[in-house]
């Protein structure tokens, strides 16, 4: 395929996908639950998030691919030359990735859901090794292997669910399982949930199953990292939520919620420990993803208002993390280093990227008036309302440690004298950044800000409807 043609197709495809999702969003007023696929409130929310993120990332990708087109690149860390993957393959896998993620969102059958989640792994693996060199291959290998192993556990969990419902449900259709949840065998149900939590948790990067993640994120191109973190995370989390919903319906919400809280707290603590002594800003973002994953799990386990908070946070996190990863690509292009210590004065050299970088981290750290502040506050309030005092204390503690750790790294990057930028004479004049590289982050940032200032009534209703099946208010 001609490179230009490939690039054009990816733009058109993303637009078409977004338009389709937009259309679906408004055409089905009530929850449609099919036997195989269907669009309920939860899926609708995650599908919309995926579509928004993908559209903005694709715009960035167009420019990125044009810049990288057909050139041999010198590696930043070790100085060897490498070539990129063929563009056609990259674009093809991008589409497959989008398709499998959409299937995850609309799957109403647990077997189909598993197939779709596994497909996301396979479709995204070639995306991580876009820059063909040994480090990216290493990261790809770890990603493939660890996620496949995890997903094998999830498959066992799905099978166990079938055993739990033997004689009751003919199919592993979600609404059928929920409808007859009371009669499911509780022992098998619990075993199934543990396996699915761990299995999908590997993909959803819940600690301690997160080990593939920092590598994959630091080696993948920035827009792929944005997709992995902003969209794929949600999909894997959605798969866990489906299992959680069944347990809630079966009256085992205390069990599954407790497990979610435990895994959430572990993720928070691990992320806090690693963020503080991180030297690579793409890995820093990866650990921040682990932290946010912990918040989601904590909120889900907390029940009540925290569920709504977690759902809102999933959206907020996708927007903010997409923004940050895209900007990190800009910084990498200008400063040609992934090390935090090598970057100073981003604000004066690249004012827009630097500003977005700082703003994104303020947002993600939970400062008002950004969206994450609202959602994290809701999670905290929900935890306190349900008497989860210990979890709430750990939550606050971890949040503050992460915030302090991140700021220690970020503030010197943003302020100070510009340093070491290639092809720059060190004067204070700023570099003109191409439009494609700042437009998408700007849009994402605006949305994250908007969600903090004002959550529209339809969105709020959607979140409430989605939260109802998950023990929400």
């Amino acid at each position: 395929m001609e490179p230009a043609c490939a690039a054009a197709s990816v733009g058109v495809g993303a637009l078409a996908h977004a338009a389709a999702v937009f259309g679906l969003f408004f055409s089905f007023p009530s929850d449609a639950e099919g036997r195989w696929v269907g669009l309920d409130s939860l899926g609708r929310m995650f599908l919309a998030t995926t579509a928004i993120l993908f559209l903005s990332v694709v715009f960035y990708t167009l420019g990125y691919l044009r810049r990288e087109e057909g050139r041999t690149t010198r590696d930043l860390e070790e100085g060897f030359l490498f070539r990129n993957e063929p563009e056609g393959m990259f674009v093809g896998c991008l589409f497959l990735f989008l398709a499998s993620m959409s299937l995850v969102c609309i799957a109403q059958h647990l077997g189909l859901l598993w197939v779709a989640v596994e497909a996301t792994t396979l479709a995204s693996a070639p995306l991580i090794s876009f820059h063909r060199h040994h480090r990216s291959l290493e990261a790809t290998w770890k990603y493939l292997l660890i996620c496949s192993v995890g997903i094998a556990f999830a498959l066992l969990g799905v099978f166990m669910l079938a055993v739990a419902g033997e004689g009751l449900v003919r199919l592993l259709a979600l609404h059928e399982l929920i409808a007859s949840a009371g009669g499911l065998n509780p022992v098998w149900l619990k075993a199934a949930f543990i396996l699915m939590l761990v299995g999908y948790g590997t993909k959803a990067r819940l600690a301690p199953m997160h080990t593939w993640l920092p590598d994959a994120h630091s080696e993948a191109p920035s827009m792929v990292s944005a997709l992995l973190s902003g969209a794929l995370l949600n999909c894997a989390f959605l798969a866990q939520l489906r299992a959680h919903a069944i347990l809630l319906a079966a009256g085992l919400g205390m069990f599954s919620g407790g497990l979610l809280i435990v895994f959430g707290l572990i993720s928070l603590v691990v992320a806090a420990l690693f963020v503080v002594r991180q030297g690579d800003y793409k890995r820093l973002l990866a650990y921040s993803s682990i932290e946010n994953m912990g918040i989601l799990a904590l909120g889900m386990g907390g029940g009540g208002l925290a569920v709504a908070g977690a759902l809102l946070h999933a959206l907020n996190h996708s927007l903010a993390k997409g923004l940050l990863f895209l900007v990190s690509g800009n910084l990498l292009a200008v400063f040609r280093s992934k090390r935090i210590a090598d970057i100073q004065g981003a604000l004066s050299l690249t004012p827009i990227s630097g500003g977005l970088w700082l703003g994104g981290f303020f947002a993600l750290g939970g400062l008002p008036p950004f969206g994450p502040f609202l959602s994290e506050w809701l999670v905290l309030k929900g935890l306190l309302e349900n008497g989860r005092w210990v979890a709430a204390v750990f939550f606050l503690l971890a949040l503050s440690v992460v915030f302090a750790g991140v700021m220690r790294h970020i503030l010197p990057m943003a302020f100070g004298r510009p340093s070491m930028a290639e092809g720059h004479d060190g004067s204070s004049s700023s570099i003109r950044e191409p439009l494609w590289s700042i437009l998408s982050p700007l849009v994402l940032g605006a949305m994250a800000l908007g969600l903090g200032l004002f959550v529209s009534a339809p969105l709020w209703r959607l979140i409430h409807r989605a939260a109802v099946g998950l023990g929400g208010p």
Partner: protein, 215 residues
């Protein structure tokens, strides 16, 4: 019929020991292939009603994919990437066998409470065998140096999951079964490609040298 299924499952357990204890990669590949064949035979011998089209077709497909295609792919990958035949685990074979014995005990232990509340149709011993196969695969992945043997471990794990699925006579629609099978195949295929690229890039596929990226 019980006796036959029993015997087949024990054979499957023995292939696990073979995978753990063998020092040659081709022998491991054959053992994994044999597991696929055994799975198909178990599926056929477990189906209570006369073989209806779906089960027979799926068993044949299982046989073809797990018993023929995947091993062929692996052998090809081995030849193309000129992998040496030795397995070279991180720990010696005695420790591996000991760990294998421990895992076997563990699988019977964790299968106990589940067995008690299992549907009466469940064949006894299938559950621990599935767990043991799964754990064997995991152990292989953890203790092996070569990327190729890690793929073998992944396949063993999948076989364990399948043994469970097959044994519980889970009447999944054929479509889902096909999807799962296709996914596994594609996974191995993609792993094969990455393996090939790793080989070209590194001149070897020992994953213990894939250690640039760490904290």
């Amino acid at each position: 019929m019980t006796g036959i299924v029993d015997f087949l499952i024990v054979l499957l357990l023995l292939t696990n020991l073979r995978i753990l204890g063998s020092s040659r990669i081709p022998a491991c590949i054959s053992a994994v292939a044999l597991q696929g064949v055994l799975l198909a035979v178990i599926l056929v011998s477990l189906s209570s009603e006369p073989l209806w089209g779906g089960t027979a077709a799926f068993a044949l497909l299982l046989l073809a994919v797990k018993g023929v295609v995947l091993p062929w792919l692996l052998r090809r990958a081995m030849r193309d990437a000129s992998v040496t035949r030795e397995v070279e685990p991180f720990v010696d074979f005695s420790t591996l066998l000991l760990l294998g014995g421990g895992l076997m005990g563990l699988s019977f232990l964790i299968a106990r409470p589940l067995q008690v509340s299992a549907p009466p149709s469940t064949e006894k011993g299938l559950l621990p065998s599935a767990f043991f196969t799964l754990l064997t695969g995991l152990l292989v992945i953890i203790t092996r140096r070569k990327a190729l043997t890690q793929v073998l471990g992944y396949l063993t794990m999948e076989n364990g999951v399948y043994l469970f699925g097959v044994s519980q006579a889970i009447r999944e629609p054929l479509l889902i079964e096909l999807g799962i099978l296709l996914d596994v195949m594609a996974a191995v295929f993609v792993m094969g490609i990455v393996l090939f690229q790793i080989n070209r890039e590194f001149d070897h596929i020992d994953t213990d040298r894939l250690s640039v990226l760490k904290e």
